[in-house]
Every structure is written in C-alpha cells, then in structure tokens.
C-alpha cells in the first residue's frame, strides 16, 4: 500500500474556512487504488464540504489535492477524472436513461456508435439492459440508483464520489443496495469515496473508513479496527452501539484503571487513546452490549467486571434483540444482547441476570466533553 503508484487520491493538509467557521480543518489522507473508502460522520462534520472539494465545486482554503500525483487545485470540475453520484442522484429529468448515461461520453466527443455500445454495455453490467429508452420518472428508486452509478462508471473515472446516495431509499432497499454497491465496486475496480452518516453503511461496504468530527478525522482504519480499537471516545460512541458511563479514576496502573461511575458502579477498564491517565481524571468508559456475557445463575469463577441486575425491558428484534437491565442498588442501567439460547426463551421482566465481562472489553477514554 505504500507504493506511490497505487495511490489514487492524496489530500495534503487541506482546510476549508467559511467566513465564520472552519468546515474542514487541516486533513491529510491517502486512498489506495481500487478501494472503497468511506467518510463517516454526523451531519455538519464537514464531510460534504470535503467531498465537494474533491469534486471541484469548492476550493480548499489551503492544502493540496492530488489525484494520481497530479494537483487538482486549479483543475475545474469538468476536467477532473472524478465523477460524483449526488445525494438525490441528479438524473437529468429532460433526458431518458440512454441520454443521461451518454451525456458524459458526448462531452468527450466519443463517436455516436461507440456511445451506443458503451451505454448498452454499462446498462448490462448494472443489470438494467434494455431500459435505455425509459424516462427517469418511470424507474424505481433502486433502478435510478444504478443508472446514476452507470452514468459515472461509463466514463471510467479514477475516483467515484458518492454523497449519501442511499439516504432517500427505504430500509429494505437500502440493505439490498449496500451489498449491490459493494459488488459493483469490486466488479468495476473503481476507487469509491463514499460519505455517510450511517455507520452500518460504512461498516458493511468499506475497505477503509475515516471517522470525521468537527472538520477533523478522528480515526482512519478498517471497519474492524474502528469497531474494536476506537482511537477516541467519539469513535467508540459513534461506531456501533455501546454502554457508556462517565466516572472518575480511582486508581491506575500502566494499562488498566479502576473507575467509579457517577451511577455508583465500579469497573476495571483498559486505557485507550493517547492521553496519560491517573487517579482523579474524569473519564468515559464504553462496553459493547455483545461483549457482556449474560447468565441466569451466578457464575462459578470471578471475572474482571460483574453486575447483578434485574430485567427492566426486553427489546425484541429477532437476532438483534436486547435487554435493558437495572442494577438494584445504584439504579444504573445497562444494555446487553439477548442470548438466543433456550435458557432465555422465557425471560421475564424482573428476572435476575448475572453479567460478566473482561477489562479488555471495557474501554476507557479521558472525558473530553468537559474541556470542549
């Protein structure tokens, strides 16, 4: 990956300031050829501005954008080897499917018969062979999605930018399109830059994800890394579901700390992040619901962290069902995954649960919300 020729996009210290705020704050990253790169962040984090700078619709205030080692800063959008799938797709309503897909080819003065061939070929590849003469409004949401992709992919761009294109679809179709997008990306081998606020989209499709917050990248890594080794409290909270407590460090050694939460619970946690920790620091700790082992009887061996709770609510959602449990003394709440074993088939409200998990799965970060 470090070989320079395989890098499609490199951003060097790019920033974008608007009159009263900084949308993108000194970001650098590289994207290797053929990968699916997602930028994940809440709305207003600057991801759209970043994408628009890549497309050329915004000029960076400082820094450089290199595509295949060529600076793009002075290249207008229509000259960049970059195409974009817009949030609402922006299929031209005055043109039919064929004309939409052929639009970019006509701009490159491709001969007419070749346009016809290439349009037919790309329609075939996205599974819509023969719908060239349809009008845009005759297509379903999923079909439009594929036409919007085909319209870009027919031009063989170095980089394909996608601006939350699945946002407008209903849930079922969105699940389906996630897989389809990933497969299409693999098939075409084009480098995708995908922005979204939906962590599940990012996790499913991406080779690499950058988590963005307040104009900066919090962490760049594989979905696995982000999920299991979040670099910051923001990433731990934003990617996947977690139980989250705030508390103070009682004691600390080189790798672990003992934290007493504001609920009055006490946990052993693993030190995460770059900052040093010592007794008295305010921290946040994160535990994933699925990392907690749930038993109806007290386990024989002791573990790092344990709690005895009563079932408050069962949130039934098939394989993703969860239990919200309450620790009696403190009243603190915790969410755990409902095990799909016969033991739990008749679980009732008020039943006692024994929860255990390891220090390794209890992630502790310095609480930054106070400083901010």
């Amino acid at each position: 990956m470090s070989n320079e020729t395989t890098i499609d996009l490199a951003c060097e210290n790019i920033s974008k300031h608007f009159s009263d705020f900084t949308a993108v704050d000194n970001i650098s990253f590289t994207i290797p050829k053929g990968s699916f790169f997602s930028i994940l962040g809440p709305s207003g984090c600057g991801k759209t501005t970043l994408l628009r700078m890549l497309a050329g619709f915004e000029q960076p205030s400082s820094g450089d954008i290199l595509i295949k080692q060529k600076s793009m800063v002075d290249v207008p959008p229509n000259k960049r080897p970059v195409n974009m799938v817009f949030q609402h797709l922006a299929l031209f309503p005055t043109m039919n499917v064929e004309e939409n897909i052929g639009y970019g080819l006509r701009r490159q003065s491709v001969p007419k018969n070749e346009i016809v061939e290439r349009v037919a070929a790309v329609l075939d590849r996205v599974g819509l062979a023969g719908s060239g003469t349809k009008r845009v409004e005759q297509l379903s949401g999923g079909q439009r999605q594929r036409i919007a992709l085909a319209r870009c992919l027919v031009l063989n761009p170095t980089l394909l930018l996608l601006d939350e294109p699945l946002g407008a679809l209903d849930l079922k179709l969105r699940e389906q399109m996630k897989i389809e997008l990933k497969l299409l990306q693999k098939e075409f081998g084009t480098t995708f830059v995908y922005i979204t606020h939906d962590q599940s989209e990012a996790l499913v499709m991406s080779d690499q994800i950058a988590v963005m917050n307040k104009g900066k990248f919090e962490q760049v890594g594989t979905p696995h890394e982000l999920y299991y080794q979040p670099a910051t409290a923001f990433v731990a909270g934003f990617v996947g579901d977690s139980n989250r407590w705030q508390g103070n460090i009682e004691s600390a050694d080189s790798a672990t700390v003992l934290v007493s939460t504001s609920d009055g619970l006490s946990f052993k946690a693993k030190i995460m992040g770059d900052e040093a920790m010592s007794a008295g620091n305010r921290v946040e700790i994160f535990v994933r619901p699925e990392a907690i082992s749930v038993n109806r009887t007290a386990p024989s061996t002791a573990t790092d962290n344990q709690l005895v709770c009563q079932v408050e609510t069962i949130l039934f959602d098939g394989a993703k069902s969860q239990i919200i449990a309450v620790e009696e003394e403190s009243g603190g709440k915790i969410t755990v995954t409902l095990p799909q074993t016969s033991d739990f088939a008749n679980l009732q409200q008020g039943d006692t649960l024994y929860l255990n998990w390891s220090t390794e799965q209890t992630l502790c970060f310095i609480d930054s919300s106070r400083g901010a």
Partner: protein, 287 residues
C-alpha cells in the same frame, strides 16, 4: 341512480362557485367579442351581411403590411427580450442568495411602479435630440452636433424590450429556481462546459418558462400602443394604432372590429406556430 343523487348537490355547489367566473367570462370577454364579430360582418348602411371589411384588410397593402411589420417587430422584440432576460433571470435564480436575490428582483420591478406612459416619456427625455444622451455625447466630444436617437425602429424595439423585460424575467426566474443546483453541478461533473450545461440541462429545463415568457411578451408587444406611437415617430406603423384610428378618428367601428378580430386570430396563429416549433403544448406551458 344513487350515485347521481350523491354527486348532483356537489355539482350544484361547483356551478354556484363557478358562476361569478362564468358571468365574468360571458359578460366581459365573450359577449364583447361576439359583438365585434357581428360588427365586422355588418354593412352599416343597411345592416346586411358583408365580407368587405375583411377584404379591405387583404386588398389594401397598407393594412396587411402594417400587420406583418407589427408581427415581425414583435417577434424580434420577443427574441431580444429573451436574450437579455435569460442571463438576468439566471443570475437572480442561481447566483444570488437570500436578501440580495430579493433586492435585485425588486429592482426589476421598480420600473413598473410608474405607468407605461411615464416610462415612455422617460425614454423620450433621454433619447431626444436635445435630450440627456445627446447632450452627453456632445459634451464629451464624441459627437460634433446633436444626435437624434428617437423616432426610429430601434427606439421602438428598445421601448418594447424595456416594457416587456419583467414579463420575461418572472417566468424564467420561477422555472430556473425550480432547477436544483445539483443538476447543474452534475452537468459540469460529467465533463460539460458552460455551453454544454446551458444547452443540455438549463435550457431544456427552462423551456416552459421560456415559452410562457415569450407568449406573454409577444402578445404584449403586439398589443402595445403607446410605445410604438410615442417612440416611433413619423414612420411608426403599428397595427393597434390602425385599430384605434378606425374606432376613434374614423368612427368606423365595423372596420375596427374586423381588424381587432384579425389581430386576435393572426396572433393566435403565430403563438400556435411557436408552440408547435418548440414542441410545447399550451397547457404544459401555462400549467
């Protein structure tokens, strides 16, 4: 039967609701036109039926030439207005945001706060031989003597375009406003130049606005009376002037009626031809 009973009160209500509109249509639009129609076919001496007043239009070259001239100049004024109004409308709809958009739009409206007569006199003050522009040209040494800018066909054109601008800008702004910026960006993103984007994305989208603006401006120019008469000077021949003359100075209502109906008919034909040429339907444009 039962369905009839259910719908008829509703229909009655609908008709009652439409009654003022129908009354207005019949009393103020249809009846006067029928009246004109009857007039135009009646010989005033003995009340008999005659085609003479229509014949007069086609046999007297002055009349149909005036009509052709009026139509051609109106078409030219329409095209010119479109060419000038389009960039203005695009600028208002797409380049300006928020308050400045409102301000520029209002600036387009301001000339219409005064009557057409006053606006036309304004132009006369500017353009006449002893007027502001002529004096400026002499003062600045660009011209040795007084320059007469009034009383030419170009002046008529200027007046017509100025008078019509708003009626082109408004429909254009509203259609261009409805064009999402992402279409334009997609047009560029896929490799289009300014011209490509304009030609393939902006104009096709704006066609309904262009056509309705053109119809309004064409009809306004064709039916204009003051501007051609005041700015045109001694050679200004405008068909509405003919109609006015027939009705008012000649007391020849029959000939005036025939001219009026011919104007209605021929201008409708031109609009129809324009719609056919641009592949639009009237309903689509006005809806």
């Amino acid at each position: 039967m039962s369905s009839l009973r259910v719908t008829s009160p509703f229909k009655l209500g609908l008709w009652l609701l439409l009654a003022p509109l129908c009354l207005w249509l019949v009393l103020l639009i249809i009846l006067p036109h029928l009246e004109l129609l009857v007039f135009s076919f009646t010989e005033p001496e003995d009340g008999s039926f005659t085609f003479g007043f229509y014949q007069e239009f086609f046999l007297e070259p002055l009349y149909w030439r005036t009509f052709v001239r009026t139509a051609v100049m109106s078409i030219m004024a329409t095209i010119l207005t479109l060419l000038i109004a389009f960039p203005v409308a695009f600028y208002i709809a797409k380049m300006l945001k928020g308050r400045s958009k409102g301000i520029v739009f209002a600036m387009c409206l301001i000339p219409f706060w005064v009557s057409e007569l006053v606006r036309t006199f304004g132009w006369m003050i500017l353009l006449r031989e002893s007027g502001v522009i002529s004096n400026f040209l002499q003062w600045s040494g660009m011209s040795a003597g007084p320059v007469e800018l009034l009383y030419t066909d170009a002046t008529i054109m200027l007046g017509l375009v100025y008078t019509s601008m708003l009626f082109m800008v408004v429909p254009l702004v509203s259609t261009l406003d409805s064009l999402d910026d992402s279409y334009i960006e997609a047009g560029y993103d896929l490799g289009g130049t300014n011209w490509n984007v304009l030609r393939e994305i902006v104009i096709p989208h704006a066609v309904p606005g262009i056509v309705s603006g053109c119809i309004i401006v064409f009809m306004l120019s064709l039916g204009n009376y003051l501007t051609p008469v005041l700015l045109g000077g001694k050679d200004s021949l405008w068909f509405t002037e003919q109609i006015y003359t027939q009705f008012i100075t000649r007391f020849n209502w029959e000939q005036g009626s025939a001219f009026g109906l011919l104007l209605l008919l021929l201008s409708s034909l031109i609009v129809w031809a324009g719609l056919k040429l641009s592949g639009q339907s009237f309903a689509k444009t006005m809806g």
